[in-house]
């Protein structure tokens, strides 16, 4: 697999690991956050922690759109799907995510709701075409990467004159979430930001480009390295971050130059700007309310907005009391610090956002790294 296998070479990994080992200052800690679930996945999947010196710690960020979707929005989707005549379409990842009372799209499907897994936003448009007597709602989730395809679907439906297709929009934005973590009261309470640098998103950045990260580097004086999702990319980004930290720099660097430019994909950006606009504030599971962190459908496309057609109520459902996701996402705590980790909260029955998908910090630890704790 070209452009994949070369970036998974175990021999090269050991070389970069040596370089990291040579580079680290044994007298300090390096707390590096990978924002994206994709990076978390690579780190867990390839056992990267075992290749890092003990004083380099990876903090798993909130970059999994399924994990951060607030329970109230899932509850909304469930109620939508339970309306007679509604076909609710969503990506496979969403189907299993439970609400606070253990419901999920998969469970209501088992009870008879018409919930369909799609692989692409345009599959949902096709389903609407094929089922003119049903209301087809596309439960759209995802970061900047996944938003342009939703825009395309809405424009397709408009072009076709479909009056039975709407989108329940839950697209969220990466940069405001990173800002929010850095500015959070918890972090401020500690008096220091426990994060020394960021690995920036890979595929999000193919769309938005590298320039939006300049702000963090400047404002918070934290280095950012945009990196691909292959494990060598991650290793290299870690090395580059440690180098910046050691040199006292706080620049935005791009390891993923093979796919990320400074400007990103302008065609996609225009499309998104045409169809969507910023929400003033949006709730993130684990982070709470984050200003200007999500998109909604513009008035010009209101006919395709499920929130308008179905008058979806705002539901805010509090996280579980014991859940430590907020602190974990900010690098203050680790999964095993949570009282219910691995007992009440497991991948089969996730309680908090970090356990929802295998890219969440708690789930990754449970599914891939748990043996380290017991060993």
């Amino acid at each position: 697999m070209k452009y994949i296998d070369e970036f998974r070479d175990g021999t090269l990994a050991k070389k970069i690991a040596s370089a990291i080992k040579n580079e680290v200052n044994p007298n300090r800690r390096y707390q590096l956050m990978e924002f994206c679930g994709g990076h978390t996945h690579a780190i867990s999947r390839y056992g990267i922690p075992d290749l890092l010196p003990g004083n380099v710690r990876m903090i798993h960020g909130p970059g999994c759109p399924v994990c951060v979707l607030p329970v109230g929005r899932i509850e909304n989707a469930i109620r939508l799907a339970q309306q007679p005549g509604v076909i609710l379409c969503s990506y496979g990842d969403m189907l299993r995510v439970p609400t606070d009372h253990g419901m999920s799209l998969l469970k209501i499907k088992a009870q008879g709701a018409d919930v369909r897994m799609v692989y692409s936003s345009t599959d949902a448009v096709r389903i609407a075409q094929e089922n003119p007597q049903h209301q087809v709602v596309f439960f759209a989730i995802g970061f900047e990467t996944t938003t342009p395809p939703t825009a395309i679907a809405i424009k397709q439906a408009q072009a076709m004159g479909l009056n039975n297709f709407t989108v329940f929009c839950n697209h969220v934005l990466t940069p405001p979430a990173i800002s929010h973590i850095l500015q959070s009261p918890e972090v401020r309470q500690l008096g220091w930001v426990p994060l020394d640098g960021f690995i920036g998103p890979a595929h999000v950045s193919t769309i938005i480009g590298s320039h939006p990260y300049d702000y963090f580097a400047e404002e918070f004086q934290k280095p950012v390295v945009i990196a691909g999702f292959e494990p060598l990319d991650v290793m290299q980004a870690i090395l580059m971050l440690i180098q910046q930290i050691n040199q006292g720099r706080a620049d935005v660097e791009n390891e993923f130059t093979r796919a990320v430019t400074r400007e990103g994909n302008l065609k996609a950006q225009y499309l998104v700007a045409e169809v969507f606009e910023l929400r003033r504030v949006f709730e993130w599971r684990g982070l709470g309310w984050v200003p200007y962190s999500a998109l909604r459908i513009k008035a010009a496309f209101a006919d395709f907005d499920a929130e308008k057609r179905f008058q979806i109520p705002a539901l805010s459902i509090a996280d579980h009391k014991a859940c430590e996701c907020g602190a974990i996402l900010r690098g203050i705590k680790q999964p095993q610090d949570c009282k219910i980790f691995g007992t009440v909260c497991t991948p089969d029955n996730p309680v908090g956002s970090c356990m929802v998908s295998s890219e969440g910090a708690c789930a990754a630890h449970y599914s891939y790294g748990r043996f380290r704790q017991t060993a």
């Binding site: 090269l12 690991a17 370089a19 080992k21 692989y119 970061f143 990467t145 342009p148 595929h203 994909n265």
Partner: protein
Amino acid sequence: MCLAIPACVEEIVSEDCAIVNLSGIRREVSLALMENVEIGDYVIVHVGFALQKIDPLEAQQTLAMFAKMQNEDDPFADN
């Protein structure tokens, strides 16, 4: 997050549609988010859409950077 895979454009079906190939697996992808895609290009595919081309030169340079480390580093130092 944002599972996306580089695959080679094998056939341009229409303005907005191509067939990509990843190690023998062939799929249709939408080109609606792309411009100037040509056969032989590698594109990053996400939810059935090509998002961005892979720049082969940049890829080569990145790999070269990895390879360089080999020289800087004593291969026996970390064992």
